[in-house]
Amino acid sequence: MITRDDILKIAKLSKLSIEDEEIEALTKDMAEIIQFADTINTAVEDENMEFDNISNIINAFHEDEVIESFDSDLILKNRDGGEDGYFLVKRRSVN
């Protein structure tokens, strides 16, 4: 069962603020999503088959050979603030 507390906890972990009147609707929606996942789980017949590895691909590796990294101008292109080649951590107000 999904409870009101679960929703508040997930919201906190996701760094989302939730209004009081939204909680009930979210609880109901979340319960439906979980139930859907449970339904799919029961559809997996072979117990030995891992649900999360349905593609059955194994061992896709990269060789340990250096390829030149990206130009740091490109890496930093979307940054907001920062200097001397660094990203800047945005200051957050404490809430």
Partner: protein, 470 residues
């Protein structure tokens, strides 16, 4: 009432692969900020990580060298948490199927420290705090790590220190990491609790995070041990929490309490496919492992007849151990070779790094030649010492310094007259010696060595002098 310390360790070791764990950027230490980066290791959406083949191989090596069993089927998971050094807001790690499990490292007392698991994961970026702001360099982001987790088997700080030293040496021997603590390529989290002797239940533990120096670890544990005892003795209760060591004040301080303990919501990383390792591959990696330090130590003591302390010092540096073995070929008394290395050669190498690199000018065959001459009594030990010094300075073989004249030595009659001269010239020392001051004898011998330019047989000279003055 006396208390017992109970501790467990989580050790992060950076692997020395050429490339990062999920992309082909270099793992080189340092560099201008954000120049060892690509869309994968700065976590841009839509990129596809691919596991580094050597990361798996190195981790399996680490597991085999610490007596772990290796999983045939393994996978990568996402560990979710929000922190600026982690651009994806999750770290790719391993949760319930680590590559290696159930190993141990034996301490010198014979006690085993059990290793619960070894898993692979990516390192985070580096935060730089300046002028009240925080900046990020992602060069280290995505560098491969192994995390080695022990059971709470430690009962003293000494055991922890010995374990870390042993672990470091093993990783260095098998070549999976440079384990440079000052560069942060080996970092430890220590779980620590106390209980009264005789209690079977574990006390409430605290965790001291992210220490990269043996002396800090020892000091932090000492402080934390006493802090917990103080609380209990004053009727308080230990709070389960994460703490950090403040080296300026030599204290541990609280970082976060259990109530805001992390909920990592681990789940399988759908971008990374299953890792499968066959038994034959594991066996092949096992065959490639070099002789491990513990095995080498045992062999040095047994085969070369060395005292354990000497053997430990030789084995501590892989290159020194190799040099020693080559210098020992066809030598009977291996202790002589070990003595030359540990005293005279080590004196020229002041730092640990210099001993590790062991870049000395003479090859082991030169030392071997010198020791052979002393074994056949063709030269005495003080001449050998002087010659070795010259060899170390110049890199030249001993034939440059030892002449035919040296090899013939000084005949007994000549030595006898020099000894007589020495007794007359060192009246004070002779009297002191006769009055029981053993040490005074040294200066008489020193005089003879000076007179003969180190060519005299010290044992014979001692005998002669004792006959003269008795």
């Amino acid at each position: 009432m006396s208390y017992e310390l109970v501790a467990g360790l989580e050790t992060h070791i950076e692997l020395s692969t050429k490339t990062k764990i999920f992309c082909n950027c270099t793992t080189e230490f340092g560099g201008e900020p954000n120049t060892h980066c690509c869309p994968i290791c700065i976590g841009l959406p839509g990129t596809l990580p691919k596991l580094n083949k050597n990361v798996v191989k190195y981790a399996v090596k680490a597991g085999l060298a610490t007596n772990c069993s290796i999983r045939n089927i393994s996978k990568m998971d996402r560990k979710n948490y929000v922190y600026p050094d982690l651009p994806k807001a999750y770290q790719i790690s391993q949760f319930d199927k680590p590559l290696c499990e159930n190993g141990y490292i034996s301490l010198s007392t014979g006690k085993n420290i059990n290793i619960t698991r070894i898993h692979i994961e990516e390192d985070a970026g580096k935060l730089v705090h300046q002028r009240g702001d925080t900046y990020i360099d992602y060069n280290r982001g995505g560098v491969p790590l192994v995390e080695i987790v022990t059971e709470p088997d430690f009962r003293s700080i000494d055991e922890v220190v010995e374990y870390i030293e042993k672990l470091r040496l093993i990783m260095k021997y098998i070549g999976v990491s440079d384990v440079k603590m000052q560069e942060g390529s080996l970092r430890c989290d220590v779980n620590i609790s106390v209980r009264k002797y005789g209690d079977n239940d574990l006390g409430i533990r605290t965790e001291i995070k992210n220490m990269n120096s043996l002396s800090f670890i020892a000091k932090a544990m000492e402080y934390e041990f006493n802090r917990q005892i103080d609380i209990i003795e004053n009727g308080g209760i230990i709070e389960q929490e994460t703490r950090r060591y403040n080296s300026d004040l030599n204290i541990t301080e609280s970082m976060r309490k259990k109530e805001d303990a992390d909920d990592y919501r681990y789940f399988r990383d759908p971008d990374l496919v299953t890792i499968s390792i066959m038994d034959e591959q594991i066996q092949q990696i096992k065959n490639e492992l070099p002789e491990l330090p513990s095995v080498k130590l045992k062999r040095f003591v047994e085969d070369y007849n060395l005292p354990i302390q000497d053997a430990e010092l030789l084995v501590k540096y892989k290159k020194v151990a190799e040099y020693f073995e080559e210098a020992c070929i066809k030598i009977e008394n291996h202790k002589v070779v070990s003595n030359f290395i540990l005293s005279q050669i080590f004196r020229t190498l002041s730092t640990e790094t210099e001993k590790e690199d062991f870049n000395i000018l003479i090859p082991p065959s030169y030392l071997n030649e010198l020791v052979k001459l002393t074994e056949t009594k063709k030269i005495n030990s003080s001449l050998a010492r002087i010659t070795l010094e010259k060899m170390l300075e110049t890199g030249k073989p001993l034939s440059e310094f030892i002449t035919e004249k040296h090899l013939q030595g000084i005949d007994e009659n000549t030595l006898k007259s020099i000894c007589e001269k020495a007794v007359l010239a060192n009246e004070k020392a002779v009297n002191e010696y006769l009055n029981g001051k053993e040490k005074a004898f040294g200066s008489i011998i020193g005089y003879i060595m000076k007179e003969t330019k180190g060519n005299a047989d010290a044992a014979l000279a001692t005998e002669i002098i004792k006959t003269i003055i008795s």
